[in-house]
């Protein structure tokens, strides 16, 4: 066997399975998009024709409209609050050592490990205790805790990359601590904060399990409304709204890759 042939064979034996694995990862999304254009109420493959009726229904269905609006309210407040709390905390962790710092770090990163249904159930009980069961406040509070670890991490990494000499230079030139923070540190942190906010917003918009516990009919977010629909109907309305979400996410990923460099953010570029 010639070496070139052996190398080709090896490449084929590697890329073949990789392609199949990627197909397995992508097929659900493709099937959703395909189903969303189906004219029929029943599932059928391949679809008998092309129709936009499920898109029309999805976009006019009151529960989805309310869910989307609620989701925007919750996400805007939750990811912005998480950005403020998380950036401030990342600053503390990076700059100061104080008693209880490790414990506080552990508590604020634990929502990553604690099952979402435990967190959701806990906030449901907390909401009842505080008389906030029917309010956005408890939904927002739960979401803040769930997305906080991602914001802290993103801002912390940016803080680590700031050249401390820049802040020292500003301070030596007579800038007050507040001025250094506002004119030097914050502008340098902006990319990390923007990245953290974006991740927080996406996670909050799509969060389901904890939201199922803390929302009720009036405050339910889009994923909860979709879950309710799936349990009651089996027509492709959910396929249409899912297709919209998949396409939006894919575009966002392509843009993030183009402008922020996904591989660099995730630290998976070869050296």
């Amino acid at each position: 066997m010639s070496p070139i042939f052996a190398a080709r064979l090896r490449a084929a034996l590697f890329w073949g399975p990789v392609g199949l694995i990627l197909l397995y990862m992508t097929i659900p999304a493709l099937v959703v998009v395909m189903t969303s254009f189906s004219p029929s109420e029943l599932l059928e493959f391949p679809p008998a024709g092309l129709s936009l009726r499920w898109y029309a229904r999805a976009l006019s269905y009151p529960d989805f409209r309310n869910g989307f609006a609620n989701g925007l309210i919750v996400t805007t407040f939750a990811s912005t609050a998480a950005l403020a709390v998380g950036s401030a905390f990342a600053y503390l962790v990076d700059r100061y050592s104080f008693r209880g710092r490790a414990a506080l770090e552990a508590v604020l990163s634990s929502p990553l490990i604690v099952p979402h249904f435990t967190t959701g159930f806990g906030f449901l009980l907390l909401g009842a205790e505080l008389g906030l069961t029917r309010s956005y406040a408890i939904v927002i509070a739960a979401h803040v805790l769930l997305v906080l670890p991602f914001v802290v991490r993103s801002v912390y990494v940016s803080l680590k990359n700031i050249d401390p000499r820049l802040e020292r230079a500003a301070a030596n030139l007579g800038a007050s601590p507040g001025r250094v923070l506002a004119r030097v540190t914050l502008p340098l942190l902006l990319p990390g904060m923007a990245g953290g906010w974006l991740i927080a917003a996406i996670l909050s918009l799509t969060e389901f399990t904890a939201s199922l516990y803390v929302t009720e009919a009036r405050t339910q977010t889009l994923p909860v409304a979709m879950y309710g629909y799936i349990r009651e109907y089996s027509d492709p309305t959910i396929a249409a709204i899912s297709a919209l979400l998949i396409i939006a996410t894919t575009l966002l990923m392509l843009l993030a890759n183009r402008y922020l460099g996904l591989r660099r953010i995730l630290a998976i570029d070869a050296h």
């Binding site: 099952p115 979402h116 435990t118 967190t119 918009l205 516990y213 994923p223 959910i238 998976i268």
Partner: protein, 284 residues
Amino acid sequence: MRQRPFFLAFLLPALLAAGLFLAALALVLQYSFRSFIPGSLDPGAFTLENFARLWRPIYLWVLLDTFTISLLTTVFTLLLSYPVAYALVRARRDWVRTLLVVLALTPLFTGEIVRTYAWILVLGSDGFVNSLLEGLGVIAAPLAMLYTRFGVVVALVQFSMPVMIVLLATAISHVDNDCERAAANLGARPATVFWRVTLPLTMPGIVSGVIVIFAWTMSAFSTPQLIGGGKVLMISNLVYLQGLSSFNFPFAAALSLVALVLAVGSLALLQPAAKRLEAKVSPR
């Protein structure tokens, strides 16, 4: 002189957030030791009955099922993610790497309901796979995949892969290409290079991926809920049934406490092993 500008102002919001989270968990703990009064959301007197009830065979079976499903999901996620992560790091052409990154990571951000619903369409009796196989004449009657453990694992593996791929790709990208080339120059065949050089050096990534996915799958909810359809029960589904269907908050609290202990426990047990491995392979 120790100046600490903004110390208190930056600390208070974090303390408030931590306080809310701890209060929520403390309430779960408190409810788990209270008795259930049917028809009332308020818990009754102190009791250990909720924890005694956990030892009934039906609940032990659910725990065992949760464990088995998580283990299977973790193993298959690792096996399928490694080649993709390797391709992601080592592909030479830029567009191939962009394509791989987007295809591999998009499922992570579409949200669990969209992903789970998609698998219902793929696995259902009138779904994509059954229609395809029937159209090709491979099967006469639809295969039962929805509402089975098989279906739940198939969906869970797909959800877990993006995270595993990121963790593995990070580990693989830290392997010095020169190590692999040196082995190859010394006459090692590609398979030998992989088994003796690449794989051992990426062990820390593998271990941390396995830990994360295992803990994550143990607390999966929407997949067993919708794809299991009540026929496959994981601990999360019991919490939902008890808490939001029967309104037995005390027992739901005990169950979610068990889930919390299992998730944290499996991390605590496996983390030291990961640390040791990390120390072993990191360059001195």
